[in-house]
Symmetry: C2
Subunit: 455 residues, 2 copies
């Protein structure tokens, strides 16, 4: 019987050593920055109780949750009536009580509430773990992907916002990527909504403005109209959507615009404080106040951040903001926090597109011993032990295969050095070290090899 | 409405920074050893197609697979008849096409077959990822846990077995743990089965012998009898089960015992070759030939390994062996391999029980700036930037809270140093650095602080 070549579920990926090295370069850069800013790691289980996840991501999000079938008799809780109705929306929670993590924010909120008595607040945590979404897979969108989050919870200080801007700048400058950090504040948006006479339409206005980048000004106007904003109000909004100039010029205009609303004034004060910090420091990234930045997520209440690449048009590579009541969903009220999330997969694509991954060793193996057969093996194994004790990644081709085959193996794995030890070398207690790049070789003793390979 | 404190599914765990640091100590030690021996990482998706997983772990294993409910209308493929039967075993594959990884071995076999044209054989890979089993949770047994596997596939050489013994020894000696590496060979067991006249009962005999450690000699005899081995044959088996002495003594006895069978002779030759290597090297671990070691897994065909702690009785902390046809299940025949798996959770428990975790910094944060208020903040933020650029993990308490509260925060997080910068320090361009362990303090400039904290 012919067996079909096995595959993996759509939207998922296998990673080879070479890709893992590149991905770790991104993760390690982010992790390192989080750590220098005093953030510490937590990890949560891959699956949570569905009661923890459901209702936190909107109706659309609920549909994208991967649910885990209950073990054993999964129909135990289903009545014959319910079963015959075949209403899968109603049946799902009866046959599946657990779901795969959809993001790191809700598990973090759950973690904080569950462990609140063991946690020292303000709590600074980072978390780099995969999440799963039953989204339609497409280029750059996967069903399993990593998120890299950092949040500080339990502090209202705007120092936190400032340090988040610093962290974003640090990560992208360490990755040698040129980005723009866009900053806005939900309170400014609320002030604007109030100013144009639609305070209750904040969400509609936000959603429409959020699309400006993608659909353009005209379509945003249409959308605003269709959401019940009248033309006069839209006209008042126009200068805001077209706002240009320096930070100070924008702020001046804003003050005239939303200065009379209480919430708008708060937003202006927060923005001014944040930019007062920013002005005192040097950044590699471009930093700008962008009033059209809204970010879809409803739980943001203060500052919002979004980072885009200046080198490729790939959408947002990092985003975040302040939320005043994230843990409220689990019963812990009045804890304000602010956080960000780096999109590792998108950052990977930008680094790939701009050819900015550092020269990684394609192979982590530094040297391969050619296998000449039983007589020579022991001599090589002794030398291998010495190299490995000196932290040199080394291997012996395990079988006494043809030289050509062994050299091809070393080539395919991009192993930079090969050691040959035949009768002559053994009697002299030496090894012939061959440089696979330039073909030069040297017959030297083991100490000289350690020195050379440890360079 | 009162909200119930949220929890996590049974058998899963949250990990705090402190526990993560300890776990990483284990993972990093294993990873480092794998790398020096020329193994390279791969990663596979958390879920596989159920067709990849089902039937690979026996009937019991199939029951322990976590299955993922199909998205959307999951009853699409179920007829009314099938539904009304309520046979969940039959229904499960119709409503769930994916399942969570149960181990790393089957995904590895799938990976090798799927990517066979891109892989250079012999293929040495390691993989450290979580797996999930719907097992009944109990002390030391979780539904989500990490496996740490290394395998080499596509080579028959016994050098591989030897290097695996070296790797095991290296990992445990780096962890400062005292262990015994038990080695056996399935071919010896086959020779024994043949010798006592039950070649077809190899699996029954193996299963019974495997329990010797747990249930004792008498019960093993009973089990053998119940599996259809007659008393005469069991008597012949007795000296094998009671085999003691040095390696050479055991081998001598074995030769008399299974020397006349072909498969037994192969087993003796392989064992002798392996021990010839071993004798030439120094090991920290105890290494012994243990004929009662059988290991339940049916796919092993040659050498088998198991490692137990000499310090606590916690069962096996590492195990593995050679398999001649792992990838055959996916259509790639005649590829022999050998591998091991470290049980990170058990190793964690041994290190905890024996108090052998190295002194880890409870907190990765080295220093905290006390927050005296707006006027001083900028001065501190500038200093923070310098410290972080020098790779010192540092933070400022974000709010201008009472000194007592701020110091309590530093204490709870075990931050070893605190910096105070008030009016006097600022006018002198200095900082007061307080050692939280001995209470001493010094007023020095930023360069001196960098030097001191980088020690």
């Amino acid at each position: 019987m012919a067996t079909k070549t096995p595959g993996i579920p759509k939207g998922t990926r296998d990673f080879s050593a070479e890709i893992i090295a590149k991905r770790n370069y991104i993760f390690d850069t982010i992790k390192k920055t989080y750590q220098t800013f005093g953030y510490q790691p937590i990890e949560t289980p891959a699956f949570e109780n569905l009661s923890t996840l459901t209702g936190k991501y909107g109706e659309e999000g609920d549909k994208l949750l991967f649910k885990i079938l209950n073990s054993g008799n999964f129909l135990k809780k289903v009545t014959d009536n319910e079963l015959s109705e075949k209403n899968t929306n109603k049946l799902a929670p009866l046959v599946a009580e657990k779901g795969l993590r959809y993001d790191l924010t809700v598990p973090f909120a759950r973690y904080v509430v569950q462990h609140q008595n063991d946690i020292t607040f303000p709590f600074k945590r980072y978390q780099i773990q995969p999440v799963w979404r039953a989204d339609r897979p497409q280029k750059g969108r996967y069903r399993e992907f990593y998120q890299c989050d950092a949040d500080i919870i339990g502090s209202n200080s705007l120092i936190n916002e400032f340090e988040i801007v610093q962290m974003i700048d640090q990560v992208f400058s360490n990755l040698n990527l040129d980005v723009t950090i866009k900053i806005n504040n939900r309170k400014l948006l609320a002030g604007i909504a109030e100013h144009i006479g639609y305070p209750e339409k904040l969400v509609d206005i936000t959603v429409a403005i959020d699309k400006l980048d993608k659909i353009g000004l005209e379509k945003v106007y249409e959308e605003l109209k269709s959401r019940g904003i009248d033309e006069d109000a839209i006209k008042v909004l126009e200068p805001i959507l077209n706002l240009t100039g320096t930070f100070d010029e924008k702020m001046q205009c804003l003050e005239m615009f939303v200065g009379e609303t209480e919430i708008g004034t708060e937003g202006i004060d927060e923005m001014q404080t944040l930019f007062n910090y920013i002005k005192e420091f040097k950044f590699k990234s471009k930093i700008e106040l962008d009033l059209t930045l809204a970010r879809g997520l409803n739980y943001y209440t203060g500052a919002i951040f979004e980072v885009t690449s200046n080198e490729t048009s790939i959408g947002s590579v990092c985003g975040g903001g302040r939320y005043d009541d994230l843990t409220g969903i689990f019963g812990l009220k009045d804890v304000s926090g602010v956080g960000i999330s780096f999109g590792a997969d998108r950052i990977y694509d930008v680094l790939e597109n701009t050819n900015k991954f550092p020269e990684t060793r394609k192979s982590a193996v530094k040297v391969m011993f050619v296998n000449f057969g039983e007589k020579e093996e022991l001599y090589c194994l002794k030398a291998l032990e010495t190299l490995r004790k000196n932290n040199i990644n080394a291997e012996i081709y395990p079988d006494n295969a043809k030289m050509k085959k062994q050299m091809k193996y070393a080539n395919n794995k991009s192993i930079p050095f090969v050691i040959l030890a035949g009768e002559n070398e053994i009697s002299d207690n030496k090894f012939t070290l061959k440089n696979m790049n330039d073909g030069t070789q040297d017959t030297i003793d083991i100490n000289a090899i350690v020195k050379k390979l440890n360079l």
